[in-house]
């Protein structure tokens, strides 16, 4: 078992503390503060998920090897790509998926 508070809990509270500063910070720093908070949120989600398990290399090879005539195989690959991209979006930008 990891020590408590664990990495995710530390990132959460660090991010909350950072965002609490925004209101008292000069507007010219807001863009950077929000980028920092965003980077922390992505890292938080990534360590909170059992990382993306798609085998991107294998998928790449399947696409390159796929017969141009085999439309069923292409549809299957497309479905795999959609699923893999959805999993990555859930980490890097879940709001993007919410809007869809």
């Amino acid at each position: 078992m990891p020590e408590r508070p664990d990495a995710g809990e530390l990132l959460d509270i660090a991010r909350e503390s950072l965002l609490a500063l925004v209101a008292d910070t000069e507007p010219r720093h807001h863009y950077m503060l929000r980028m920092v908070a965003n980077a922390m949120a992505i890292a938080r989600r990534e360590i909170g998920t059992s990382t993306v398990h798609d085998d991107a290399g294998a998928l790449w090879r399947s696409i390159e090897a796929c017969d141009a005539q085999d439309r069923a195989a292409q549809r299957a690959l497309h479905a795999e790509l959609v699923a893999a991209t959805r999993a990555r979006l859930a980490i890097s930008n879940p709001k993007f998926l919410d809007a869809r």
């Binding site: 950077m32 980028m35 920092v36 965003n38 980077a39 992505i42 991107a56 290399g57 998928l59 790449w60 696409i63 390159e64 796929c66 141009a68 005539q69 439309r71 292409q74 549809r75 690959l77 497309h78 479905a79 790509l81 959609v82 893999a84 991209t85 959805r86 990555r88 979006l89 890097s92 930008n93 993007f96 869809r100």
Partner: protein, 346 residues
Amino acid sequence: MTADDAGARFRSAAFAVKLAVLTGASSAQVTRCERMAGGAIQQNFVLDAELQGGPWAGRQRWVLRTDSASRVAASRPRDQEFALLAAAQAAGVAAPVPVALNHGDAAWPPFMLMTFVPGEASGRRLTRAATDARPALVEAIGANLARLHAIRPPQPSLDFLGAASPHPTRDLIDSYRTFIAQWRAATGDARPVLAWTLRWLEARVPQREASVLVHRDYRVGNLLVDGERLAATLDWEFAGWGNPLEDLGWFCAPCWRFAHPEREAGGLAAIDDLLRGYNAVAGTAHVAADLGVFQVLGQLRWAVIALQQALRFIDAGERSLELALTGRMLPELEWQMLEMTGDTFA
């Protein structure tokens, strides 16, 4: 040297002498020189000057454009940008008027001067400013692009662009494939959606193409708009010979729609509005469907640029959070690519 120091340099008496020589004036005074926002590659200053004698006699407001400290290899030298602006002006393209060029010497860095054009360039503000679509503006943007595309090779003043390729789109796809392989070798990160998109594009690459002068970054954000009027085309860094549909597709790629993703032409209006303006000037009969391949090509290009930015952080030691986060935009771009291509590539 910091940007503020550089601005002070251009307010010096020594620079006033330089300015008079460059512009054919007998004497000059610089009354103001301030750094303008933006410009990661270049530093832009707005410069107010008063000139005595010569073709620019009187009060002038100009933009002084010089290279920033962190130079990017792809950045075009100022003299080439100057020649491009002159060619665009001559073709009737809305663009700043090139005024003078300094090639760079012991005392002063390379820089160019062009007329200051007032207007709004921010994509966020332009797409948000009105809730209504802006078809007249987009039609003018299309017509302006057609005037640029009337410039065809060869052009002696643009010989630095090299010879036009007989298959510019295939060349672009090849260059993206090469970079994506470099990315994978450098990071170990395979991006299968990009492999999918490359195959989709390869099945659709035009067999016969005519090359024209393309801007290669013609989009909301690089166009100065004054009310509903297109005032100027900016940022000629990437111009070259290419398929005219490349510029039209880039303008309509999802990444440049800002607050209005449903308005395919730059977040401002419909593709048909853009093409109405374009076709009327170019004498073409393009329809929205003709742009599909080039919208995907534009989307892939943006993904390649994002990976290039990320690589500057990962591999080149640039400690920038913005560059790092740009790499994490890829899944969004890839999702859009999968929507755009549909579920078969052949």
